[in-house]
């Protein structure tokens, strides 16, 4: 919800956020004065054409990039200022990411890909197996758990990526063009899974230009972005 109101359930707060890049000696303003508040359990769709700054905004929310100026707070914690080790820790606990190109390790199996985020957690193997299995079931890819990632279809790869994003039970799910490499049926299946996650109270941010996200069957906020600005 775009609002200046700050309440106890505020999950992501963005204030006066700017990101510029140097390119061939010129300053390119990718994000300009972004202000955005997202409360817990909200689903936000950042909609815009390629180059509108959606992915950069997601990277800043995840603490994968540092802003040029401005604040990004995750549950009040300024992720944009945290040293790398702390940002990684916060990301591992609170944020799950789903990418356009899935970013799976092709030579590993589905269950191994989903297990990887839990390896640094220090959990016992039995507990890790339980978490992996429930994430695979939630993403509806349990039946392929032993298959190599390289042998999966696009839709199956995306569901594996969803399971990987969910396995640490994060509060926030960030999706970067999640349906760009999926056909219509698989895209609709992905949206169904998002609906389930929304029902579980996860905070979801989707950066996309897919028209399927314009009229979702569950409560969501569409935020249009043009030339690095929210319009």
């Amino acid at each position: 919800m775009r609002s200046d109101a700050v309440n106890n359930e505020m999950m992501i707060q963005i204030e006066n956020l700017n990101r510029t890049f140097e390119h061939a000696g010129n300053e390119v303003k990718v994000l300009q004065e972004i202000n955005l508040n997202i409360v817990q359990g909200e689903c936000v769709v950042l909609k815009g054409v390629s180059g509108s700054g959606k992915t950069t905004l997601l990277s800043l929310m995840a603490g994968l990039d540092k802003p040029s100026s401005g604040k990004v707070l995750i549950e009040g914690e300024p992720i944009s200022k945290l040293p790398d080790a702390f940002a990684s820790e916060l990301r591992a606990k609170k944020i799950g990411m789903i990418f356009q190109h899935f970013n799976l390790l092709e030579h590993l199996s589905v269950s191994e890909n989903v297990t990887i985020p839990l390896i640094p957690s220090g959990l016992k193997m039995k507990e890790i197996h339980q978490k992996v299995n429930s994430a695979l079931k939630l993403a509806n890819i349990n039946h392929k758990k032993e298959s190599l990632a390289s042998r999966l279809s696009g839709g199956e790869k995306q569901r594996t990526a969803i399971a990987r994003a969910l396995v640490a039970n994060p509060d926030i799910i960030l999706c970067d063009e999640p349906t760009a490499n999926l056909d219509r049926d698989n895209s609709l299946l992905f949206i169904e899974i998002l609906k389930e996650l929304h029902a579980l109270g996860k905070t979801i941010v989707v950066a996309t230009h897919d028209p399927l996200f314009e009229n979702l069957s569950f409560e969501s906020t569409v935020i249009p972005m043009v030339d690095g600005k929210i319009v």
């Binding site: 204030e15 006066n16 040293p83």
Partner: protein, 322 residues
């Protein structure tokens, strides 16, 4: 140009030191700018730029400091190798004393290594905080270390360019041997008292470390390293060389003695530096002790044990002491 400056070891050493100094100079200039404008609570473009620069500076400093630890070993190896060029020198002791700069340079290098260890400790504390709480402290300490390294570089060039390869020098037998009627030991100690003090101070260091009496620990540690130096040169070293008149801190670094000097001096200085840095940073930053106590205990105990073993082995083999 003299032969010393043209020797392979010195060329490599001076080039390495100069390159590292150039890197540190860049880091120093940037860190001064960062230090003067640093405001972590700010979310301005300037502060974000400074944070990126601070990250770069820390990376440069960590790299250069790790190289400095390796370079002191190379420096010692180099001066030992130069003993072939300097008449009268049989080991690094003669080369170090070849001019007025050598001793100061060696003491400065050992001091710099201590401050580097202290900086590493403060940096470790700083990296554990979300808001770079100790950034200013470590930056000021770095500025101080940079000035020491600037002096060190000047002394490096002065030292190596002023070694006269035609002038005979005194080596360990004259430098560390008992001069007529003069007692070379500190505080007028006898060898027996020196050894009693050596073991007592070692015990005091371990006890104060375990009981966390930080101030007493710092004092005991400084005294221990001072006394340990004399104990090694004037007593334990003679058992390493198996010759009562051979009193030298350098010869034991040579192959004839299986390079045991490197092990001996490294365990003493690393143990002391880690312990002192932990204690001083604890007092300075008011932080709890790190988990380096075990390392300090192991290193200093290893040093004492190694020294003692040489005496014990000699005694068991020969039935007498030197």
């Amino acid at each position: 140009m003299n032969e010393v400056l043209l020797s392979n070891q010195v060329i490599v050493y001076l080039l390495s030191e100069s390159t590292l100094f150039f890197l540190l100079l860049v880091a120093f200039i940037v860190s001064l700018k960062v230090l003067l404008k640093w405001d972590f609570e700010s979310f301005t473009p300037l502060q974000f730029t400074l944070e990126k620069q601070a990250y770069l500076v820390t990376a440069i400093i960590l790299f250069v400091f790790s190289m400095k630890f390796l370079l002191i070993l190379y420096f010692i190896f180099s001066i030992d190798a130069l003993s072939l060029l300097v008449p009268g020198a049989m080991c690094g002791a003669g080369v170090i004393e070849a001019n007025d700069y050598g001793s100061y340079l060696l003491i400065l290098k050992l001091s710099i290594l201590f401050f580097l260890t202290l900086w590493l400790y403060i940096n470790r504390y700083d990296m554990r905080t979300k808001n770079h709480k100790w950034f200013k402290e470590k930056s000021w300490l770095f500025s101080f270390i940079f000035l020491l390294i600037l002096v060190e570089l000047g002394l490096d060039y002065s030292y190596f360019s002023n070694i006269d390869t035609h002038m005979p020098v005194s080596c360990c037998s004259a430098l560390f041997g008992q001069l007529e009627g003069a007692n070379p030991l500190p505080f007028g100690l006898s060898i027996t008292l020196l050894l009693v003090l050596f073991y007592l101070l070692y015990a005091l260091v371990i006890v104060t470390l375990k009981t966390k009496q930080t101030l007493l620990y710092i004092l005991a540690n400084i005294l221990f390293v001072y006394i340990a130096y004399y104990a090694v040169v004037y007593f334990f070293g003679t058992y390493i060389y198996q010759l009562p008149t051979h009193k030298c801190p350098f010869c034991m670094l040579q192959v004839e003695y299986m390079y045991v000097g490197y092990l001996l001096w490294a365990s003493l200085f690393i143990g002391t530096y880690i312990g002192l840095s932990d204690a001083i940073s604890t007092l300075w930053l008011k932080q709890s002790h790190t988990r380096s106590q075990k390392s300090v205990t192991r290193l200093l105990s290893f040093f004492v044990l190694l020294c003692t073993t040489y005496v014990a082995v000699y005694y068991f083999k020969n039935g007498v002491l030197l």
